[in-house]
Assembly symmetry: C2
């Protein structure tokens, strides 16, 4: 009877779970069932978490298939290098040291070609240098008798490890040879210290260096010849895409301020997308620097020579950021509480829109110059147009007090100001518009700085001049490039969010 | 005779070299001497370069002695761990696998405690997990016969290496377990593949894991107990110092714009120092993020608990950067070509200076709150003062058109504007001052955002309230802290320049 009751309560409890809403029964259930509920909730939560995690991982793969390819490349390189274990003749050649080839592949294989080459060369040279030094120390130590040997080797390890660690703090060493210094310490310590126990030290070192060379060569080959991702190309695309984003967010800001102020305020999707543009520029400094560091290790590839001026891209990035600070300030004007009255806005809207569209077409033209690596024939005229628009804006501002003042205060020399001014207004009301306009003027002067840095790049990298006709022929082609860049664009954006 | 002539020419030539200035003799000298001169120049250049390099390295050591201490710590840890080779009983225990202890120390030992712990735990757990998995795969493979064994192990290496590599692209994994994933691939490949050749696989794995644990424990002990550098502490100091810099550069900017405009323009030292302040804030995002990443691995230390809200520091950093953008815009006003005429500047100078000094004292008070980890009793009143100063500034701006307009246009209701206005002026001339003032207003609102994020931190980290009297008693103490922070300040600044 008691047994049956228990069973019933068990059934009831199961019904409760199935229902899920009637929690009043839970306090009545025994501790076992409570634990069971808790456990089930935990498992369900875990499954949901794992599912979300996998979904996010899947998204990453879909967004950037090159990442998946990179993973397959790593798997392939590792499988190939493990042939040294599986095939008897190969294993005989290197023996247990085949391990070093595997280790090298795991440690050295990076996403971009430049990073892989940088690490590979650092590893080979660090190992070789440390190996020779360690031999010297080992020879000196072995000459000085059994008692002194550990002392000498110990002291040398202490000294050289400390010095090499310190060298990693020096900026010029850190930028290029950070990994090499670590490998130097590693190899030196291993060879010097194990020299005390291992007899055939020379054989060991020889095999180790050769396996490392095998591993690094394999990595470099795989990374360069199977769907290569060049750090230089990434930097090139990142910079030109960031420029497009900057142009778009500038136009977006001004449009929003003047045209769609009331209409679009509710739908927050449009502004968000625009906002992201200049924020990308603001936050991509670290990415740019790390890619540029690796780009200079890369050999000539595609349109880039070996000594392509990658440092200049960093300068372009800095000038873009300086412009993005101003766009940030523009954006703040939109959000600010005390908006200018409509009629003062209207007065300046046309000219401001003209300045913004001219500015953004200058930026876009410059971005195109970078993308196509050809000097633009129209950039000078575009800059000139932008300048004249800015001049017009300044003139408009000059007339603003007359427009705003009551008609009787008009100065005698002003004849052009026969505009319909229905009311006087306080300066306080004009401040937002004035601030906005002076920011626009500042932005245009910063855009000229961007143009200058890009012109420096064109000189350093010897961009070809483009004949006017050719430019027209290339139009559809360029559009296709832009479309494919837009795709990369989203990927870069996502990559940046992750950084 | 001919021999004597040669000797003479040799002497002559040496005299030429000693003199150094009479180069007319060089073309007469033979190719050997020319090579010699070239070589000497090369060597001199090299020596100079090395000397400069060493000097710079020395400066780094003098600027931040903790770096030197870190290097000595690495050397010490390596020497201690190499005792496994030197001492026979220890060597018997682990054999050739002692190598793994050395390798662990070299790879895992980092500058800060958090980074070392992060890498250590990643290494230990990555190795253990991969080891168990590899055993499973090895067992399955060995059951399926000689022919299939390489196929199964090869396929498993390919699959797991690809998957683990892919997991390193997932942001949440990358932030915490990037190194662990690499070690996982390494260990799994090594154990699975070498299982094909090595018989005593279990012994090998056991010894390897124990040596890795020995290595990591040694690293953690040394890094925690000998002059520890806590990532959390570094972040704490970085944020509060950046705040002080922001406050100083804000005051510096406004001072320069209004007071010392003409006087200080020539001496560029003062402005440079001020400029550096907010630029540090702008460029320290990457540093903050990487330190915060390591800080959460650290155990409770000093004034920080285990779950100290390090993420909140990143929010504070972001709010500071948003304020620094505006300071950048302020700075641009100073450099801009069309300056406001002196009298309009003079009109606003007092109130602007008041706003800037109030704003900077709010920032400094907040920085003090962070430094001392005690809620400030005066922050509310300081914010209130700042707000009222901003209100005054807005009022002044409101009266500006009346001040600027000729006296006859004065509106009837304005009685307070009996100031001396000697001339009418165009709006264009006021624009710089108006822009400047509206930026000041914006800055003060962004400072309030900083105050809010810091208050959130105070709540999350449960800062203690400070009694008014206690605050006074602590004054000299605080000063001492500030002085010592100033020292760190310079170090952080230098560290940032290097990043």
């Amino acid at each position: 009877m008691a047994h049956q009751e228990k069973a019933t309560s068990g059934v009831e409890w199961r019904i409760t779970l199935g229902d899920g809403s009637s929690k009043s029964l839970v306090p009545d259930a025994g501790p076992v069932s409570r634990i069971w509920i808790g456990l089930k909730g935990l498992i369900a939560g875990l499954v949901l978490k794992v599912w979300k995690f996998l979904k996010r991982a899947g998204d990453i793969g879909v967004d950037d298939p090159r990442k998946v390819i990179h993973c397959l490349k790593v798997g392939m390189a590792l499988t190939v290098v493990s042939l040294f274990y599986y095939m008897r003749p190969l294993y005989k050649g290197v023996g247990g040291n085949a391990m070093w080839a595997i280790m090298t592949v795991v440690v050295v294989f990076e996403n971009t070609v430049g990073a892989t080459i940088c690490k590979s060369l650092n590893r080979v040279f660090g190992t070789t240098l440390a190996g020779f030094l360690a031999f010297g120390v080992h020879w000196v130590a072995s000459q000085s008798g059994q008692e002194f040997e550990p002392l000498i080797t110990g002291a040398s390890v202490f000294l050289l490890a400390s010095t090499a660690t310190f060298s990693r703090f020096i900026p010029s060493v850190k930028a290029r040879f950070d990994y090499g210094a670590m490998i130097f310490i590693l190899t030196f310590s291993l060879v010097t210290v194990s020299g005390y126990r291992v007899d055939k030290l020379f054989d060991m070192a020889h095999q180790r260096i050769s396996t490392i060379i095998i591993g690094t060569s394999l990595c470099i080959l795989v990374t360069m010849f199977i769907c290569p991702i060049w750090a230089g190309g990434e930097l090139h695309i990142l910079i030109s895409n960031n420029m497009d984003k900057l142009a778009n967010s500038l136009v977006g800001c001004v449009d929003e301020h003047f045209n769609y102020n009331g209409e679009l305020k509710d739908s927050d999707k449009q502004p968000d997308k625009k906002l992201l543009g200049y924020k990308c520029v603001l936050s991509s400094k670290a990415t740019e620097e790390s890619i540029a560091k690796f780009a200079r290790w890369e050999p000539a590839h595609g349109r880039f020579n070996f000594k392509h001026p990658w440092q200049q891209y960093l300068k372009i990035g800095a000038s873009m950021r300086s412009c993005a600070y101003c766009v940030e300030a523009l954006n703040r004007c939109i959000d600010s509480e005390n908006q200018a009255p409509e009629f003062t806005k209207k007065h300046l809207s046309n000219i401001c829109l003209k300045v913004s569209s001219n500015s953004s077409s200058v930026i876009k033209e410059v971005a195109k110059t970078i993308k196509t690596m050809k000097r633009s024939p129209s950039i000078d005229s575009l800059v000139e147009e932008m300048r004249s628009a800015v001049q017009d804006l300044q003139n408009e501002l000059n007339f603003l007090p007359k427009v705003l003042s009551p008609p009787e205060v008009l100065h005698p020399e002003s004849k052009e100001t026969e505009e319909t001014t229905s009311s006087t207004t306080h300066l306080l009301e004009v401040i937002p518009v004035v601030t906005f306009a002076s920011l626009m003027i500042e932005i245009s002067s910063r855009i000229q700085a961007i143009v200058e840095t890009v012109e420096e790049l064109a000189e350093l990298a010897e961009f070809k001049g483009e004949v006017q006709e050719k430019a027209k022929q290339n139009q559809p082609n360029t559009n296709r490039i832009v479309a494919s860049q837009l795709n990369d664009d989203q990927q870069t954006m996502k990559a940046l969010e992750r950084v």
